[in-house]
């Protein structure tokens, strides 16, 4: 993966793992530099309203309008810590990774998944690493490409909107679209 792409992915990850208005402003400013989109420039944004909107969509304390957890979109009934969450935990394990917040923050939080993507795309780009490549392809094709579009749809159709969120959601969609779907049935070795 190209360094800019890594920076972009890291900024997306940081955005969804933001703990404060400062965190999300920083992540947005980073993205703003990288994106070619027609989104408003970061300097024109109101970061306080961005924070309120971010919390309404993704955090709370009200029921989040677009919860950033895969299981909410993949399970028959939206819930956290479902079977699909544990599958993601196992994928992390297979990559030699684990969440320091395991058991406290569902493993399939978008921010964690983007962090895993950062690791897996990097490993997959290394020569002679067919296993990580296959793992990344699996994670991308059977997981990220399935739920992230549903999440994007929900976030965009939510009552709450904000230019900063538009910027991030566009960047996320763009990043996902740009991921090369490595043929998963390709026999390598």
């Amino acid at each position: 993966m190209y360094p800019t792409q890594q920076t972009r992915l890291a900024a997306l990850r940081d955005f969804f793992l933001s703990r404060s208005g400062d965190d999300l402003e920083q992540a947005c400013r980073q993205l703003n530099k990288l994106e070619k989109s027609d989104a408003a420039p970061a300097d024109a944004m109101d970061w306080e309203t961005a924070e309120f909107a971010f919390n309404r969509l993704f955090v709370g304390p009200m029921a989040p309008e677009a919860p950033p957890y895969a299981s909410c979109y993949l399970e028959e009934e939206p819930r956290l810590m479902g079977e699909s969450t544990l599958e993601i935990r196992r994928i992390y394990e297979m990559a030699g990774l684990s969440s320091p917040l395991q058991g406290r923050l569902p493993d399939d939080h978008l921010g964690l998944e983007l962090d895993a993507a950062l690791g897996l795309t990097s490993a997959a780009a290394t020569p002679d690493m067919e296993a990580p490549r296959a793992l990344w392809a699996y994670f991308l094709n059977t997981h990220l490409k399935v739920w992230v579009p549903l999440f994007l749809e929900k976030a965009r159709n939510a009552d709450t909107s904000h230019p900063a969120l538009d910027l991030v959601l566009d960047a996320l969609e763009d990043w996902l679209a740009g991921q090369d779907p490595i043929p998963t049935d390709e026999k390598t070795g």
Binding site: Q6, A10, R13, R19, S20, G21, E51, F52, N55, R56, V59, G60, P61, A63, P64, Y69, C72, E77, R79, L80, T85, L86, E87, I91, Y92, E93, M94, A95, G96, L97, S98, S99, P100, Q102, G103, R104, L105, G111, L112, D115, L118, G119, S122, A123, T126, M129, E130, A131, R133, A134, L135, A137, Y138, N141, T142, T184, D185, K187, T188, G189
Partner: protein, 757 residues
């Protein structure tokens, strides 16, 4: 080398053995250490040993809601995730079962809607929230508390409202936290059951009921204003078994409930006229010479005066006219009740939520006593008990910081306040009536209430006269709410703190109906940044002491498992046959005594006897005898009933998705005749309005409700601003101040009219 394709990956994910091989290969290749992740840790997975196979780990939990059944549960955990819950199999009361609410608990734990982090709202009710750290939240709160103390010279400007949202014993640490800050303002009393508690105390010297499991021995059961088919499902099996053995089941209720539908006979009593009905039965029993004179002579005082009262002021016809139940039925059932020993009456809490509620309970108690049914297996005037609650209340009993000032005057104590009166300081907390929260918060002065802490309670859904309560909240300089979900109270908070669910904390639970004790283990890690009430208290104390040393006595570092242990004593161990609290890890235990109330005939009254005539009751401003007391004069055309729903417990559970499948929205239930007179059809949107406020809601027509009343279930819906407290004023019930610290509230003495919207 193994070839890796999608199928192989899928197999590896699903099969621990294959996964291990994959991981081994990957680790050997040194890939994991090189991954540029910023958050996920590398190289931990193998060592962490998180590969699970086969069975579940099981943990003990207990439903801590304000419910008769207080069910022990077994929680099945795999991979650190709670998968499902079952009823505790060893409890003969729950017999391995749960109710519809209990089975939904996993949905609560893992609901995406949970409050996850401390957050601060910029402008109450704006919905503009910022996430803050615990440190920042506690700093803001502590600074406010210290400011209050400096301004007023005391902590009386700081008020606590807490009730029954979590009855786990260690949650009394919230009260402990307040005590450790100094003398504060407390909302005291209960909207639930106080009139009946006092009534039973006047009659018998305590509220004490038989083990519900002994109901199988009853030969006659009257379910009076109680709906166990919804609100105590586990008791139903004893009622059914009694019925199978030949007992007759009579249900008395203004509403044709699910319980009424399952009874042998149902009487639709005119609401709040239960006292008249009981007295009519008593008069007939007297007339027919069916009084258990031996029992009365041996165990009671004041019966002659009671008989005089019945003879001079009560007739069957009067009782029939008042209650709406035909005289011949009253007479027949009175004879059946007196003639089938043991006979029992289960007195529900709804029937005492009236201006004459305590008086009605006393009349029913008298009916049970005069037939010699008190003190017998299978008999009794069953209402509730607190015989198993003898814990240390270690978390609750905290000392104020040295030298602090408080309120000069007597303080009231709630029914769950088991602390002994302290010798020494003449200062106390300022106590305000919880049932008049809005009015009391608005009127408190010198100093005014400046900050409100809400825990285990959703006042804006449950407290009365909501419009006034909003005004009271608006007056507060700071509102802190500790909760699991964003409800109507959190909406009006400045700061919200995420609290653990039962699965995420250590505590112990007993019931006020059955006689079992259950451990509540921490089954899973607390999600997000939620903390238990005890941990919140410790963290607040730490911050208070950082900012102002000596300002809070609550220990700053606590182990909640140790604090659970500190609640036990030899009395609790003895009662439940325990060597250690750890025995409860293997299952629930049942009390070995107290199972038949008043069996030894030694009553807790001043006379030591059952008191048909209670001087204490008279001293407290009521009738010495269980005389009829008038119901509240209607102030509008229709009575408004707001009882418990099947799918919730007060404001809890209704918001969960599994409940929404069955109970997606609120209705007002109207009798077809009542609706027709107002041109209302089933499904119409209607406005229910009275002097207190209004509710716009969909009408559902049913002849389960009487023609002179409409019914709405109390509930908080997550996607609907419905609130029945818009229609309920804060008029007091007659009794309750003696044992619960404040009179009860006449929840079901409300009136309104309904029109098509």
């Amino acid at each position: 080398m193994t070839q890796w394709n999608q199928d192989n990956i899928k197999t590896a994910i699903d099969c621990p053995m294959t996964r291990r091989r994959f991981m081994k290969w990957l680790t050997a290749a040194g890939a994991a250490a090189m991954l540029p992740c910023g958050f996920l840790r590398s190289g931990q997975a193998m060592a962490a040993g998180t590969v699970y196979e086969g069975g579940y780990d099981t943990f003990r939990n207990a439903c801590p809601r304000n419910c008769y059944d207080t069910c022990g549960m077994v929680t099945h955990v795999k991979d650190g995730v709670a998968k499902f819950v079952e009823g505790a199999p060893e409890s003969t009361f729950t017999n391995g079962g749960l109710c519809v609410k209990g089975h939904s608990y996993i949905r609560r734990l893992y609901s995406p809607d949970r409050i996850k982090y401390p957050m601060v709202q910029q402008g109450r009710g704006t919905g503009n929230w910022k996430r803050i750290s615990w440190d920042e939240a506690l700093t803001r709160i502590s600074e406010k508390f210290i400011e209050i103390n400096e301004k007023d010279g005391s902590m009386l400007g700081l008020a606590l409202t807490k009730y029954s949202g979590n009855f786990g014993i260690t949650n009394y640490g919230v009260e402990g936290m307040f005590s450790s800050l100094g003398y504060t303002t407390r909302m005291v009393g209960t909207p639930c059951w106080p009139a009946g508690i006092d009534a039973q105390n006047y009659d018998m010297g305590n509220m004490w009921c038989n083990d519900p499991e002994d109901m199988v021995n009853a030969r006659y059961i009257i379910l009076w204003g109680v709906n166990p088919a919804w609100c105590s499902v586990h008791t139903m099996k004893y009622i059914y078994e009694a019925k199978r053995r030949g007992a007759k089941i009579l249900c008395i209720d203004p509403v044709l409930t699910q319980t009424a539908a399952k009874a042998d006979e149902y009487w639709q009593v005119r609401t709040s006229e239960d006292g008249a009905l009981a007295l009519g039965m008593a008069r007939h029993i007297l007339d027919k010479g069916l009084v258990d004179q031996d029992w009365v002579n041996q165990n009671a005082v004041g019966f002659a005066e009671f008989a005089d009262y019945l003879n001079s002021e009560v007739t069957l016809e009067w009782a029939a006219e008042k209650s709406g139940v035909p005289a011949e039925r009253i007479a027949r059932v009175a004879e059946e009740f007196a003639g089938n020993n043991p006979a029992t009456i289960w007195i529900g809490y709804g029937m005492q939520r009236h201006v004459n509620g305590g008086a009605s309970v006393r009349a029913i108690d008298a009916l049970v006593a005069m037939t010699g049914n008190v003190g017998k297996v299978g008999g009794g005037a069953r209402y509730g008990h607190l015989m198993t609650w003898g814990f240390n209340y270690h978390a609750m009993v905290q000392q104020p910081p040295k030298g602090v000032k408080g309120y000069l005057g007597p303080a009231a104590k709630g029914e769950f306040d088991f602390t002994k009166d302290q010798e020494g300081p003449s200062y106390s907390n300022r106590t305000l009536n919880i049932n008049k929260t809005a009015r009391e918060l608005l009127n408190a002065s010198d100093p005014p209430v400046r900050a409100l802490w809400v825990s285990c309670k959703n006042p804006l859904s449950q407290d009365f006269d909501r419009n006034q309560l909003i005004k009271a909240f608006n007056k507060m300089e700071m509102v802190v709410v500790v909760d699991q979900f964003f409800n109507q109270t959190v909406e009006q908070a400045d700061i919200v703190l995420p609290v653990t669910t039962l699965f995420e904390e250590w505590t112990v639970n007993v019931g006020y109906w059955h006689y079992w004790i259950s451990l509540n283990e921490q089954s899973v890690k607390p999600l997000y940044e939620s903390k238990s009430n005890l941990e919140i208290a410790a963290a607040l104390s730490k911050k208070m002491n950082q900012l102002k040393p000596g300002s809070c006595t609550f220990p700053t570092e606590i182990d909640t498992r140790e604090w659970l242990e500190k609640e036990f004593n030899s009395g609790v161990y003895g009662l439940f046959g325990l060597n250690s609290w750890q025995d409860l890890k293997k299952g629930m235990h049942k009390a070995g005594k107290h199972l038949t109330a008043w069996a030894d005939g030694k009553f807790g009254t001043p006379s030591g006897k059952y008191e048909f005539k209670s001087d204490l009751c008279a001293e407290h401003g009521f009738n010495a005898l269980p005389k009829y007391v008038d119901s509240r004069k209607p102030y509008d055309k229709l009575r408004v009933l707001t009882p418990h729903t099947q799918f919730g417990l007060h404001s809890q559970f209704v918001n969960l998705d599994w409940m929404e499948d069955f109970n997606p929205k609120p209705y007002v239930y109207i009798h077809p005749d009542t609706a027709k007179a107002r041109g209302i059809a089933d499904g119409d949107t209607v406005v229910v309005k009275n002097k207190t406020g209004s509710v716009t809601i969909e009408a559902s027509l049913t002849d389960n409700v009487p023609t002179d009343a409409i019914l709405m279930y109390e509930a908080w819906f997550r996607n609907n601003d419905y609130n029945c407290q818009n229609l309920v004023d804060d008029t007091s019930a007659d009794m309750g101040a003696y044992k619960a610290g404040a009179p009860g509230v006449a929840i079901h003495d409300q009136f309104a009219d309904v029109t098509k919207a």
